[in-house]
């Protein structure tokens, strides 16, 4: 029996186990983020915005064993494709190696623009930069885009008096997700609760529990969070469930209006706006998958393209064609375990932007109302 003063009695030991757990939870918040997260976007999204950008300022995230968001979302351990990842965040919290410099272009967009799991020279911004000679500031944000007000504030901070704004828009935004017009004020309030909720210890515990609920030992309740399909060559590929939904006309109309307003505002500041339409992984691979239900996203993108009075580079067709071609050699343009494109996908998109649009655009200086070549072809 434990004596009344023994430290090994329930009333003494058990509350201290709880206390130690709480202390461990607090301490792990100061440990390197890659210890408890599978990639930078996860860390950024759970800890929320810092300063202007999505990441902590002057932050480097390095993870030699990063893997895809869909593998994580569906707790599919077998689906993981481990790869190294490194992201540098600048003094504003955006994914740039340096915060100051002479920029003549800004890339606005979501995680496709950041270049999840891409080396810094293979991201969309770097690829466009290499092909056009522009010096591009990456202002992308995983899961959402910055607001108009934030963009204008960024332009002021960068001291830019003119140039180009590339706005990368994924077709998922034409579905249920609407992130461009979020009011920044409530986001800052949410930041407190987000930081309080973020727990590396919970992440590590989730990984342990996930190993038990792996679909073999015990049922995997997260399995349905990602759609699993088989490509003609037998490869298994995961898709984000939301990408299987149709676009809504309301969202198309919203973005047409949004870009009109944004373009006007940028025009007044001496900027030209170029919209880059990016297809989701399902839009690219659905035509290649037998019995896969199609969506109206490609059509919605074309409709948006027609409604816009600003230059547009729609990368959908180029990516669909390149994906079919690459698959003949067993290669993919998107990570099989992730919603995002890989370096080859970025290269195809950048080439499309360069060849079909920028070449045409560069011949028309100023804020020209030009349609992309692909659209002209349709007409």
């Amino acid at each position: 029996m434990a004596t009344r003063n023994s430290i090994l009695r329930c009333g003494y030991l058990l509350p201290r186990v709880l206390l130690l757990w709480a202390l461990l939870d607090v301490m792990l918040r100061f440990a390197p983020a890659q210890w408890s997260t599978f990639r930078a976007s996860e860390y950024a999204m759970v800890t929320g915005p810092h300063d202007m950008g999505p990441y902590r300022t002057n932050f480097t995230y390095q993870n030699p064993h990063a893997y895809g968001d869909l593998a994580s979302l569906s707790n599919c351990i077998d689906c993981r494709r481990y790869r190294p990842m490194i992201i540098h965040a600048d003094g504003r919290g955006f994914a740039n190696t340096q915060s100051s410099g002479s920029y003549n272009a800004i890339l606005v967009g979501d995680s496709f623009g950041i270049g999840a799991e891409q080396p810094s020279d293979a991201t969309l911004g770097s690829q466009i930069s290499q092909r056009t000679g522009l010096s591009i500031y990456n202002a992308c944000w995983p899961g959402r885009t910055i607001t108009r007000e934030q963009l204008m504030e960024l332009i002021d901070q960068l001291g830019m008096t003119g140039g180009t704004v590339f706005y990368e828009l994924m077709d998922r935004s034409l579905g249920s997700v609407l992130s461009s017009e979020e009011d920044p004020a409530p986001m800052r309030i949410n930041q407190w609760s987000k930081n309080a909720e973020y727990s590396p210890l919970a992440n590590l515990s989730r990984q342990i529990v996930g190993r038990l609920h792996n679909g073999q030992l015990m049922p995997n309740p997260d399995l349905a969070n990602a759609a699993r399909k088989t490509l003609p060559d037998g490869q298994t590929i995961l898709f984000f469930n939301e990408d299987l939904q149709n676009a809504t006309p309301r969202k198309t109309a919203f973005f047409a209006k949004y870009f009109r307003v944004l373009n006007k505002e940028l025009h007044q500041r001496g900027f030209r706006l170029i919209v880059i339409l990016v297809p989701s992984k399902y839009t690219v691979y659905q035509p290649l998958i037998k019995d896969a239900r199609g969506t109206n996203k490609s059509k919605a993108m074309r409709e948006l393209e027609n409604q816009l009075d600003v230059p547009v580079a729609n990368t959908t067709t180029a990516l669909q064609q390149a994906a079919a071609e690459a698959l003949k050699h067993g290669e993919l343009l998107y990570w099989p375990d992730d919603t995002h494109w890989n370096a080859e996908g970025v290269r195809v998109a950048a080439a499309q932007i360069q060849s079909e649009y920028l070449a045409d655009f560069s011949q028309r200086p100023g804020i020209a109302k030009v349609k992309s070549v692909s659209q002209k072809r349709v007409r």
């Binding site: 434990a2 023994s6 009695r9 329930c10 009333g11 030991l13 990984q207 342990i208 996930g210 309740p221």
Partner: protein, 478 residues
Amino acid sequence: MLFNSRVFLFAFLPVAYFVFWKLSSKQLRYMWLTIAGYVFYSFWNYKFCAIMAFSTLVSYTAGIGFLHFQDSLHRKLCLIVPIVVDLSLLSFFKYLGIWNFAFSSGEWLTSLWGMDAASSLLWKFHFHSFLWSRTLLEGALLPVGISFYTFHTISYIVDSYRGTIKPTKNIFEFAGYVALFPQLIAGPIVRFRQVEDDLEHLDTADRRSGLDIGWSYLVIGLIKKVLIADTIAAIINPGLGSFSTLGTAGAWLCALGYTYQIYFDFSGYSDMAVGLAHMFGIRLPQNFNSPYKALIPLIFWRRWHISLSTCLRDYLYIPLGGNRSGVYRNLLITMLLGGLWHGANWTFLVWGGYHGGLLILYKSFHEQWDALPTILRRGAMFLLSIIGWVIFRAESFAMATQWLRKMFYPTSGYMFTGAVVLLACVAVAAAIAHAAPNTFEISHQRSPRAACALAAGLVCCLIMITGGQRSPFLYFQF
């Protein structure tokens, strides 16, 4: 807020505990227990605090009435009015669904009453307007724990009327009793007389003696809930989700799994409640006494959810006539209402009727039953309780009959994922439920080794709590 949540374990409990013991006077402790109870309750829906406060106030006033009035008429009014108010609240929020089901499931009621089409339409219009107003009021949500605190208040009123207890004049003592957070949501249904003494001596309670026992109960309860009941639930729920594909083996595993899940879930909650109350100097009564060791239906109900069974016995069965007259009728009514207490679902009613039938059968054939070997009686009683749980768990009669058919007629089918883990869990659960002493039978002055084992169990629970989906207790819905 669940006991198995981070906010409870790391924020609510430490604050509630340290502030409570910092306060020296009885009155302040009553007030603090009341505040803590309402804060705890408001985590579900703060609007429902008003209903609990109203119910508390009505019952407290009735108690004051009993102290004030000595004549029969006034005392009867003090008995009937608050009970009607409490039961009306309970019916309004909990049992309208069953009538809604009756109406939506056919025209039989209106035809039974011989209504013409116009009257029927008018009646339906009024009824649905009533439902609609309720939906508007609270989004059709059921105030969690309403069955439990309604029973607390009703038992207080009846005991005051009978003179079993002396009603308290201290509103905070009474409010603290009703809103006592360890037992607020899912019991045990504590009667005032059971905690009256501890409440009276709350200012002289010994902090340290309650701590060892309290933590021991709390962690045992957590282990039962998080490691056993939730693991079983994680396997059988998806299995029952694709119920139509199950074969005989799968149906049996699900039935066995649920039999142990509900026991470890609810008895785990009760152990946690007892442990938490101990930490605040209050001793709650035992709610489970190894029910699966019972040899006869009567003993099963003396061991399963004891606080409900005794309430039903004292406030329903005995007033109906008890063993004096119409025993079978009384038993059946009591068990039917006991089933209905669990919620507005016909399967609960049938489950109550089934157990009522078992009790009647035992009363009729107890000599033959008692002559059977012990092991056979124990096995048969356990089998009968499994059948009961199948009815209880099934979402409809069709599912219950199909489930039972699959169990007793060999059917081939699919075996769900996790069957091996489920078998292991069931084996452990069976060993504890059938062979081990229960939490009230063991000593809580633990050896260092046992304390370390509990600490290891607590770490496992914390991993599951922080890393998994939070799982509410099954009895929260009742």
